[in-house]
């Protein structure tokens, strides 16, 4: 027989850590000017341009300041490629995104020689609203569907556990974005929804074990059964997280600037998702069991 580790002994500490982390992240985010919403949400312009060799970030920044724009510059890719992102968000409503875009392009083309505009993104303010609404709507639809599925395949208390874990993961990851100043863009939203899927996946493998062990008649208490189940599946939980981390790390390091943020959010989400399937999901069903038997 294998060893059973008393995972749930530490459940209060774990939940305490989660709450503390969430509060700390949230406070930190709001002290730091809140979330960095990307142009997908607030509207704005993003230009990716390739400059000549002797142009550096300071030069571009100075030119942009001289032309009274509030655009930000960021170098991307390898240094010798000399590619920069020039972005501005729609802060004053007097100019449309389209006008901003034309202005920025003009500044680049008149002040520097041989500028190659590689890509342009111009997003009006109306799009963000639409996105926010549909992201929130989809989040709840997924939540409901998964609850229904789990109640059908398992029991209602299991779906409570899974959902507690999901909400935990998503909430902490969102404030993590705030702490890391990750620009919240469409890909980041996709990463959040992926964490959603990953978190449930991880949780269910443990739940499946609990369900199986509950059916074996024994003198064990429910908490012992849960500990046993987590112990039995811990190798799998860690191995899968590890292989997924490998893959996402490759994406983070090599995938290029466009999906960098996406990969970062996913990396964090895999950690949290693994942790929550042990320390949030399972304690929740334990709690629910106690609560409903009273």
């Amino acid at each position: 027989m294998e060893r059973t580790i008393g995972f749930l002994k530490y459940r209060s500490i774990a939940i305490g850590i989660s709450i503390a982390m969430f509060i700390f992240f949230t406070v930190f985010t709001f002290l730091n000017n809140g979330f960095n919403l990307g142009i997908d949400f607030v509207g704005g312009v993003k230009i990716i341009a390739k400059f000549e060799k002797d142009v550096d970030i300071l030069k571009i920044r100075n030119v942009l300041i001289d032309n009274k724009t509030q655009a930000l510059v960021q170098q991307i890719g390898k240094e010798e490629q000399n590619e920069f992102i020039i972005a501005t968000k729609l802060s004053n409503k007097s100019k449309s995104a389209e006008e901003n875009s034309i202005q920025l392009k003009k500044i680049c083309l008149t002040n520097f020689k041989n500028v190659k505009i590689l890509g342009v993104e111009t997003v009006g303010p109306a799009i963000g609203e639409f996105l926010k609404k549909s992201a929130i709507k989809l989040f709840f639809i997924t939540l409901i569907l998964i609850t229904v599925y789990l109640s059908f395949r398992f029991e209602f208390k299991y779906s409570i556990g899974a959902i507690a874990a999901i909400i935990h993961d998503i909430a902490i990851t969102i404030v993590f974005c705030g702490v890391m100043n990750v620009e919240v863009s469409i890909p980041v939203i996709a990463a959040l929804l992926t964490i959603f899927g990953y978190s449930v996946n991880d949780t269910i493998v443990i739940f499946d074990r609990i369900r199986e062990n509950v059916q074996i008649k024994s003198k064990q208490t429910f908490i012992e059964v849960i500990n046993k189940s987590i112990s039995q599946s811990i190798t799998r939980t860690l191995l899968t997280s590890l292989t997924t981390l490998f893959a996402v790390l490759a994406l983070y390091l090599l995938g290029g600037d466009v999906i960098n943020d996406f990969a970062l959010v996913l990396l964090f989400g895999i950690f949290v998702g693994t942790y929550s399937s042990i320390y949030i999901a399972s304690p929740t069903i334990l709690f629910w069991e106690k609560f409903s038997s009273k």
């Binding site: 939203i189 996709a190 490998f246 490759a250 090599l254």
Partner: protein
């Protein structure tokens, strides 16, 4: 091996082979045909030559075209070459597997192959000002539909082979133009309103044109590129001695499947405009006296007298063409003189046809200005960089995971790795076969699947190990391991599938690409782990002498 084993083996080998054939056009050697301008300078040609170094590509030079052969030739490369000076056009030649089989090259999204993505909205405020009232939801929707019709009419001006125009929600229109050469002119074309006019058709000369076409024009379809249309018109006008007062224009019909409009025949029209677009005040879809679908319209007071003139008896039996942006979209016959300014266009139309026609007439009456509310343009070189970065990340991620599995599970890891590669092949095959688009986030979905796909193997192997620890025989452990793991894998993956499916409904383009690859990846990994790996283990454990399993 029993007979069922042979069948299973055949089945598995069969689908692997099929999948490999499906992905050949995507990963195999391809050819790009580059058509050159007749006045291309040697310098321009050298730029093209240096883009395709001879150690990687084979280049055949002909009088006015180059044919490049090599790996890694995709839509991004094609779009990149297209904007080289001296290049008229470039296209990827169909791969032999595409001709012989159902295989297709995988579609690349705009973020990978380069192109322009626009979201437009009608300028409702301007219209409200003109009408001096607020538009209702359904009027806004109708205005958007009118703009959509206008854009379909203009699709050829965008100069791309596969444009996509579709409504987004009730008020916006989304346009995707892969590999667009000149984004500026596209935006200009979109920014202008439609010019609608009504002109008399000259039947004699229209007949002459069709007789000429029958005799001298033997291609199946009429030219679509404006340049070629111009040439054809010039030739016909010369040969049938078209009078100066007339002009040739194409009659366009809508293609059912693609919603594109294509030229169907040529009409000779009076150059003189009989009725201007804004002489009409209103148009709507209704029924005629035989309760067939028909377009009703009323003219302005000004237009009424003009209309009475055109429909005078001398013109009865003649056709009047409805022309928008120099394209004839309808040519009803004039039957009676109409002095009231109220008229009906009758015929055997479908509802779709009359709706489209009424929208065109409305565009003349009340033109819609379109505003660009979102634009994303990606240059082909940026797309090419993303593809390379993505492939790199996949290869590194894949080898990391495979090394780990090999190290941890030995032979079991080897089988899992074999499954992983099969899984990748299946994913690519399904994506290209079902015609999905691969986007940059889609590549991310691929990588994520690499990590998650081995999960099923891990679950199974851990179960088998447990069974072995409990002292069961190798054979029984394997059977039990797979059986017990089945529902775990099933439940865990179904929930991820639910999440991926919902995600695919979010917005458009990139995210959809991600969700679709994730979805397909999970499906494939389930199949590979639960069916193919299981089969391999069944074969291994058939040998009863095996006392130890290397996992």
């Amino acid at each position: 091996m029993g007979r069922t084993h042979y069948y299973k083996l055949l089945f598995i080998l069969g689908i692997i082979l099929f999948a490999i054939i499906l992905i050949i056009p995507t990963i195999g050697q391809k050819k790009i045909e580059i058509l050159l301008n007749s006045d291309a300078t040697p310098n321009e040609l050298n730029v093209i030559r240096s883009r395709f170094p001879s150690n990687k590509f084979k280049m055949d030079e002909y009088e006015n075209k180059f044919i490049i052969t090599g790996l890694n030739l995709n839509q991004a490369v094609m779009n990149e070459v297209r904007i080289f000076p001296g290049v008229k056009d470039a296209k990827i030649l169909p791969h032999w597997a595409e001709n012989a089989l159902l295989a297709k090259q995988i579609n690349l999204g705009l973020d990978l192959q380069g192109g322009m993505h626009l979201v437009l909205r009608a300028n409702f405020k301007k219209i409200e000002k003109k009408l001096k009232k607020n538009l209702s939801e359904s009027e806004k929707n109708e205005t958007t539909q009118q703009a959509l019709e206008l854009l379909r009419n203009r699709i050829d001006k965008f100069g791309v082979s596969e444009p996509l125009i579709r409504p987004r929600g009730n008020e916006a229109i989304e346009i995707q133009l892969p590999g667009v050469k000149d984004p500026k002119s596209v935006k200009k074309a979109i920014g202008t309103t439609g010019r609608v006019e009504y002109r008399l058709v000259n039947d004699d000369y229209s007949n002459k044109v069709s007789i000429w076409l029958k005799k001298n024009y033997n291609k199946k379809t009429l030219p679509i590129i404006p340049e070629n249309q111009e040439k054809l018109f010039l030739k016909i006008s010369r040969e049938i001695k078209l009078p100066q007062t007339l002009e040739l224009l194409f009659f366009f019909v809508r293609e059912k499947d693609s919603n594109k409009i294509i030229p169907s025949h040529i009409l000779a029209l009076n150059k003189k405009v009989a009725l201007a677009g804004n002489d009409i005040s209103k148009a709507w879809v209704g029924k005629d006296e035989y309760s067939r679908f028909a377009v009703h319209f009323t003219t302005t007071p000004d237009g009424a007298s003009k209309f009475a003139n055109v429909t005078a008896e001398k013109n009865h039996g003649k056709k009047m063409a409805v022309v928008i942006d120099d394209k004839v979209r309808s040519s009803p016959t004039i039957n009676v003189q109409i002095t009231s300014g109220k008229a009906v266009i009758e015929g055997t139309f479908t509802l779709e046809e009359v709706t489209a026609l009424s929208r065109i007439i409305k565009e003349g009456a009340l033109p819609v200005d379109l505003e660009i509310i979102e634009e994303r343009t990606v240059g082909p070189s940026l797309g090419q960089d993303s593809i390379e970065a993505g492939i790199n990340a996949i290869l590194i991620g894949l080898s990391g995971v495979m090394l780990f599995m090999l190290f941890y599970y030995k032979i079991g890891g080897l089988i899992a790795n074999f499954g992983l590669i099969i899984n990748m092949i299946f994913m690519l095959a399904l994506l290209s076969w079902l015609g999905f688009t691969l986007t940059l986030p889609g590549i991310a979905g691929f990588i994520l699947t690499v990590g998650m796909a081995v999960d099923a193997n891990v679950i199974i192997y851990e179960r088998i190990k447990e069974e072995l620890r409990n002292g069961k025989s190798v054979r029984l452990s394997v059977v039990n391991g797979f059986d017990r793991a089945f529902w775990t894998i099933f439940d865990a993956n179904i929930t991820t599938l639910i999440a991926a499916f919902i995600l695919s409904q979010f917005g458009t383009g990139p995210i959809k690409g991600f969700a679709v690859t994730l979805f397909i990846g999970i499906l494939c990994s389930m199949f590979v782990a639960l069916y193919i790996s299981r089969f391999i283990y069944e074969l291994i454990t058939m040998n009863k002498k095996i006392k130890k399993l290397s996992i």
